[in-house]
């Protein structure tokens, strides 16, 4: 997959979150966006997912320009699977209905077909017994796996994972990371924002490092972690990998 950013700028109030980002990111399957909090990685992910429109600049994905009008943006978003940090499941629907809703309401599947596909996914994510539980009855790790199932069920062209384990304890983190690693072995394409450095190192093909609204460094995961070029990244990695 190839992403081309052309002078993407995004501001909130007076604060510039993305500062005229111009870059090309090419990766076979998995791109990790890393960097300090507030560096702009989540915002960049949201721009890629069409959830946020930049003030200026444009973005193409595999040569296709991300649209700007609400109607075409909606179609664009419906083909991208997004997983949020705090899962954002619908609390009034059980796990199964959460996964089925985009399939029936947006992608026009018949209820039976949507049901079959959702149950199959739940089984693959070891959630079969939880199909009829609402989010409040599930653990954090289970919720996030349901959220991943919801994002995967639509057969997205691209998956976006926004700090999927930041709100989880270590054990739940492990179960979610395992699912994400499985996504990679299934050959899915996804972009991951994470603070789990060791995981990023094993799962990502390509890494982009964001700080102060700019892409400071990018490269293959291997070179990024073993031989970082810029001083910012060197310092960051030294700090976060120390303990």
């Amino acid at each position: 997959m190839k992403l081309e950013f052309d002078a993407i700028t995004k501001r909130y109030g007076g604060h510039t979150v993305l500062d005229a980002i111009t870059a090309q990111l090419e990766f076979p399957h998995v791109l990790a966006l890393l960097g300090p909090s507030g560096g702009g990685k989540s915002t960049l992910l949201r721009v890629i997912g069409g959830l946020e429109s930049p003030e200026t600049g444009s973005l193409t994905i595999d040569g296709q320009r991300v649209p700007t009008g609400e109607r075409s943006l909606r179609t664009f978003r419906s083909n991208i699977g997004t997983v949020f940090q705090s899962w954002n499941l619908f609390p009034h629907l059980d796990a199964l209905a959460n996964i089925m809703l985009p399939l029936t309401a947006v992608h026009g599947l018949a209820p039976e077909a949507a049901r079959d596909r959702s149950l199959e996914l739940l089984e693959r994510l070891h959630l079969t017994g939880h199909a009829h539980k609402r989010p409040a009855e599930l653990s954090g790790g289970q919720r996030q796996r349901v959220a991943i199932a919801r994002a995967v069920a639509i057969h997205p062209r691209l998956l976006l994972l926004d700090e999927p384990t930041s709100a989880l304890d270590p054990e739940m983190t492990a179960e979610v990371l395992e699912v994400i690693a499985d996504l990679k072995s299934e050959g899915r394409t996804f972009i991951l924002v994470t603070h789990a450095m060791n995981f990023a190192r094993t799962v990502a093909d390509q890494v982009a490092f964001l700080a102060d609204g700019r892409i400071v460094e990018q490269g293959s995961a291997q070179t990024f972690f073993s031989a970082p070029q810029s001083e910012t990244v060197q310092r960051f990695l030294a700090k976060v990998l120390k303990y």
């Binding site: 978003r77 083909n79 949020f84 705090s86 619908f90 609390p91 985009p102 309401a105 947006v106």
Partner: protein, 248 residues
Amino acid sequence: MTRHQTINAVISVLLAAILLAAACFAILQALSWNWSGVWAYRQVFWQGWLNTIWISLAALALSIVLGLLAALGRRARYPALRWLSAAYVELIRGTPLLVQLLILFYVVADAVGLQNRYAAGILILSVFSGAYIAEIIRGGIESVGKSQLESARAIGLTRWQTYRHVIFPQAMRHILPPLAGQAASIIKDSSLLSVLGIEEFTLAAQQVNSATYSTLESYLPLAVGYLALTLPVSFLARRLEDKFRYET
């Protein structure tokens, strides 16, 4: 004794005195109670009570529609709609129902040629109650978190689908309990329609009173008749509140 305790004691004594006085008054009255005169008019009471029920039901249904429209209007894309909805809610909530009845009935309904006083009365009561229901619905809609709307956006739901699948089902738990309370208010407020000569429960009692000159015997059943309607509704409101409180 602290100041707080003193105030409590004074209030208790006052309350006891008032209750005692009321009891004495009731006993004195009871000596000369004249139920037989009022009993002869039981049919008038009954008819008025039934009218109050269907008038309230009609006004409730209509005011839910109006309230929903106004609540959605306040969230509309077009500023004119937002402004119009806000003006409606604030104007109605800022003026007494009696004033609205007088103006809307004697000026507006008259001007547009609405002759049927029942239709006009129900309409005005609905317009009144609709403004309150609009705020109840708006509060319910706004109780749905931003992250939910974002999720709906992310999966590609349209605006209408977002309302249908995400907002309304979640807003219901915030809307239903106060809505039941509003239903009780409509029942009570419908008594004011008596000033338009609509033969609901209160007007019936007034008619019985002027025919029998038995004031308390006419108005006591009136209060009881309203309670018979509002208490179950309030009970329902409480039940709904409890039910939704534990279910997340």
